[in-house]
Symmetry: C2
Subunit: 369 residues, 2 copies
């Protein structure tokens, strides 16, 4: 194989597929990036068997062929090359010569035949949305997936499409995040659970433009994201997702409207008194026009009053400050509404149109504190 | 004690003295920042017994007194406060109430009487230079101090003043870095060894302005840096520094002139093939108008030609690439001269005026490679 391409084009391609190279694996071939030019295009591929990424780069093919190169070393070499034309040439022993200006690298590769290609997917079910929307909706929900594997379904996100609405849900047993967006067209009903890891990686390689589109394809076992010159194929998580509708309620006894930034800064300050692993709640004491937030830990105590507009009853309720902060950080509204029932029932942070709903369970606290 | 000051003023003061708070210590009082207002100024102090920093901040003293507050917690609280006036008030049990707008923190402090003050230093020997010069000369030499304590003198830097010249030297057994700067006045002869840690911390809190000055005072056991509203006092390392003059030589058999950036980029690329702990040298094969750099490791091989202007003999010589890179990164000249004698003798990177001299020992290599 012999190809010539620009360093910048090669680097961008390598950085894109690098997201699917596993950090640890017992199969050395998975640590490689495949360069394949056999069908007349320069394609880079990485595949950890759960998630595969393929991207095409511009360049000249002087000799068709393929080679698998150790991803970490190859990407570091490409990164450090001068900004110029790069030639990659391989021999029958799978050694690769990488030339750029006067620099010549000679490294060992592996046969491209040992590489696992991405599965062929039938592209019947298709949904289109902007890269911006997909990137945003992932960011706004991904924090509340569970980080351990005790329940596989909790490590992924529900993607559900009904007509022209796409709903994304994540939950970890303490909280639920729900975001809805409107699609430009009507689609058939789709309901799949996408691994959190896939969404994290996809979100990193999306450029995020409002005018740039992503095509998503669904099958029973896979989801495919196509955008720019890149294809991402991921397995889905199998099983029936949690029935969240029955956990949602629009009843409330207390509703407060509050400046989001003020609440967020206040809870960030209070969190300083909570050390890792220490489960001190932040207590909200909701009165007529103001809410007192207080926290009391081994380190010290802190309290602060914040102006609110209240409807309904007074209430004293405790939360894990991290859970409230996670939700506040992904809400762009200047003012938010929080709906509560009693100190044992979940609270809901949601907008009028229910484009977002963040459900958070309260925690017990000693009201004497 | 009760004081009022702006959050920004307080934060800057806290960040300055924080550099002298030890990461680990068996004496809890050393983990504190002392706030002392007994003599009518708000002074913050931290002191790890080797290095002490004191800085004054602007503010109003409503009640004189002093308090020691746990540095990490206190600095985090200050950082997260709103940008407004901060009140700190303490009671007879050394509890501190920190108020800012509507936020109130209550944390436990310690008696200021337990705190170790900075030693009183007689300020007889004084040297003045710009913050810029001091910060630069530290950056340009600090990388070649030894990082283990086997030889205490190697963990510091020699500061030597002769007339109007200040010379700073560091060495670690494999290389020597020497920088000289001209001072505006003539001074008495001074020769001390300053701990590397002190210089690292001082360099972080210097603003680095050309028009901002540092006053350095020397005694037999201490060095004092005074600048802006800050005083840094550090112990010196005792003992006789290495006689470096006899290691320097102006003889050479081969001299090359080379573009610094080109050489640096090339060695950075070559370093990709050297893993941590692997001692593969980079080999320079110096011919008439060009130098071939090559490296050959378990991972692969790399070579590159660079244009040079050569005086003297051809030479093949090997170096630890890191040592060459460290020196190149702190030289600002576009072109540099490297002087060599033979593959066993040190090379010198130095300018005509000898404002800088970087001596680097070569390493053995297998010339057949």
């Amino acid at each position: 194989m012999k190809i010539i391409c620009s360093k910048s084009e090669l680097l961008q391609g390598v950085n894109t597929v690098l997201k699917a190279v596993p950090a640890k694996t017992t199969m050395p071939i998975l640590e490689c990036i495949l360069i394949d030019t056999t069908d007349g295009q320069i394609k880079l591929t990485a595949n950890d068997m759960e998630l595969g990424i393929e991207t095409k780069i511009k360049g000249d093919i002087l000799d068709k062929g393929k080679i698998a190169l150790e991803a970490k070393l190859f990407s570091e070499i490409v990164r450090k090359l001068p900004d110029s034309e790069v030639t990659i040439q391989t021999d029958e022993n799978f050694r690769a010569l990488i030339k750029c200006e006067k620099a010549k690298f000679n490294i060992a590769g592996k046969s491209g035949d040992d590489f696992s290609y991405l599965p062929e997917i039938e592209k019947d079910q298709m949904v289109v949305l902007s890269q911006f929307s997909l990137k945003e909706i992932i960011r706004q929900t991904i924090f509340s997936i569970a980080d351990n594997e005790n329940n596989r379904l909790m490590t992924g996100e529900l993607f559900e499409i009904n007509g022209n609405e796409m709903k994304v849900v994540s939950l970890d047993g303490h909280r639920i995040s729900i975001r809805k967006i409107e699609l430009k067209e009507e689609y058939n009903h789709i309901k799949v659970v996408v691994p959190g890891k896939t969404l994290n990686e996809v979100s990193k390689i999306l450029t995020g433009g409002i005018e740039d589109y992503v095509h998503m394809f669904f099958t029973g076992r896979h989801i495919v994201f196509e955008f720019d010159d890149t294809v991402v194929v991921s397995r889905l998580i199998e099983g029936e997702y949690f029935r969240i509708e029955q956990m949602l309620s629009s009843d409330y006894e207390t509703k407060i409207s509050i400046n989001k930034k003020e609440l967020q800064s206040c809870i960030e300050r209070a969190s300083l008194l909570v050390k890792e692993g220490d489960k001190k709640p932040i207590i909200m004491n909701i009165l007529d026009d103001s809410m007192e937030l207080k926290i009391n830990s081994f380190i010290g105590s802190m309290n602060e009053d914040i102006d609110i507009i209240k409807t309904g009853k007074d209430l004293m309720i405790g939360f894990n400050p991290k859970f409230i902060l996670d939700a506040l950080r992904v809400i762009d509204d200047e003012n938010i509404d929080i709906y509560m029932i009693n100190p044992k029932a979940p609270c809901f942070i949601r907008d009028e149109a229910q484009k977002y709903i963040y459900l958070i369970l309260p925690v017990n606290f000693n009201p004497g504190v």
